[in-house]
Point group: C2
Amino acid sequence: MSGIADVARQAGVSKSTASRALSGSGYVSQETRDRVTRAAEMLGYVPSTNAQSLSTGRTQNIGVVMPYVNRWFFAEVLEGIQAALLERGLDLTLYDAKPGSDTRERIFESFLTRKRFDGLIAVGLEPEENELDSMLALGKPVVSVVGNHERTSVVTLDDALTARRATEHLIELGHRRIAFLGAGSRTRWPHVESSRLDGYMQSMADAGLAEEATHTESELTLPAGYDAAVELLSDARTRPTAIVAACDEVAIGAIIAARRLGLHVPAALSVIGIDDHEFAEMFALTTFRQVPREQGAAAVELLMRQIQDPTLAPVIQRLKPRLIVRSSTGPLRSDRATADATV
Amino acid sequence: MSGIADVARQAGVSKSTASRALSGSGYVSQETRDRVTRAAEMLGYVPSTNAQSLSTGRTQNIGVVMPYVNRWFFAEVLEGIQAALLERGLDLTLYDAKPGSDTRERIFESFLTRKRFDGLIAVGLEPEENELDSMLALGKPVVSVVGNHERTSVVTLDDALTARRATEHLIELGHRRIAFLGAGSRTRWPHVESSRLDGYMQSMADAGLAEEATHTESELTLPAGYDAAVELLSDARTRPTAIVAACDEVAIGAIIAARRLGLHVPAALSVIGIDDHEFAEMFALTTFRQVPREQGAAAVELLMRQIQDPTLAPVIQRLKPRLIVRSSTGPLRSDRATADATV
DNA sequence: ACCTGCTATGGGAGCGCTCCCGAATTGATC
DNA sequence: GATCAATTCGGGAGCGCTCCCATAGCAGGT
């Protein structure tokens, strides 16, 4: 393994000059620069990032903390972040901080304090107050994806607005008995969930449907949505004609449940989601599209700015979703069509 | 930020002694050790991993290269790896190497050569020959999860065996027209796919059903499985009575397709998968369970051993799957029950 | 009394880089 | 011809740690 000293010797210059030539900063004549570059290439020189970091205090590495990676939203955000970082030549260190786990505590107490990164991106973390404190105490820029606090920069979907629009879409189609699926005090995303539930509630109230408003708890996964929907839909008398799902996975679970109960979608039941999940098309799900990949990229962009100028004030990017109309929603029908159940 | 020199001063010892006390190696009296520990605690001392790495050559960091993170198998393996690393106090830097992408090339050409890790885990990479070369050229231990080469240690499901068992399960139930869903020359997992297809083929041949063997191409995703199954099942005359799916996502796609076509599962069509995906239970899918999370942990274990003793010969861990019988498979029926299609 | 071997500690080189600073050269300006 | 700014380069300190080596005290054996 050759170091910069070897490169310098090979090029017939000093270490300092070699360093300057390679980093592109400071005065170096074009000719020497070329000579150094060639020497480096010849020797297959790869700078030691460790030595660089030690000397400069910059790690060229970004930390990403998230509670899950095996869920669509998180995985997509992660890929977005990764792509944006690779483009900039930066490494990505992942910290998987499952809520309530003992490792989560260790991550905040010990892993993060090592500060092996120039900045941190927290994705859907919903950090406790003390967790947020310890992140900020690191003295490194922090950007959140999803979140409602004002202490870091945030890029997030406008949850309340989205849920409002989703509800309005159903109201415009003539529905009145519109249920919300996926709110829960037990869920892991208190902020997102409550905002979406709020949006739904508000729209219902605005339309004079406050009385009709109802919500059923469900974790934000497909199987949970399925189970919750089965329960919600099983009683034909109280059954809603439309469902606002907290996210697409829940919505798809509801569609599958409806099919199994013999309820035609959208004739007997309209379902709208939020996400535009990779399965949405397959289930013809009408939904509001958010693109987590872009959110990841935006977070990186924000973080870069903040690393460059740490005095920058926190920024909040509240993204507007776009309605994707497919065929899981339709006008209210009086006859409430039902087909035979396909067990 | 206080360094080890501060700790040493505070404890009234030399840097060397402080270092020894903290690292636990070398001769230090219990009393001094305590004193140093207390001093460190008091000052909130956090060692600079950079300085440590520079000095020792060890990074306390593991690199993970994978082509996707937004797929069940990969995400699960990643979580398994992460958990195992956190337990050992090691960091994880992620490299997302999408096949065919230009960033993939950059990862191998430039990111990996920085060697910011003590070892590498390649998950389902299916590396090109030159990619494998450049990974091995780093001089760091490499462990693969999924793969068929002998140049690194590997932990992988016994694909051929699993597919054979799956096929045999259906044969034992009396099926003869058994189709394989999910093989494809265009897919990204040539090794896995071909092994599973081979296993299927072999079982069919062993049972004298070589003539009946047929396979339909499908990428290894739920929507792709759905599309492929729709095509495969639409012609009632050529339709198989059972399907061996290359993985659970494809299997579930097939089940959904069957339902929509009005084919009762398992009365009219048996479907068996491989994975035990998180959705498998919800679709009552009979499948062979593999636990990617454990594979990740096993890979870490293997890697640790190899880091400790780099002369160790590559090890191949071929995992046996366990059959999980649910109700997507059943005995062949002569009447080929069909229900009405639920559109 | 002396040597050996173990324990306990400190001194200081070295890991590979960056970057401050000073020296040297050039060229332009007065 | 002197002054000054702009450029080009090398020397070397320093980033924060580990670890080799030297030193020294203190058994215990001969």
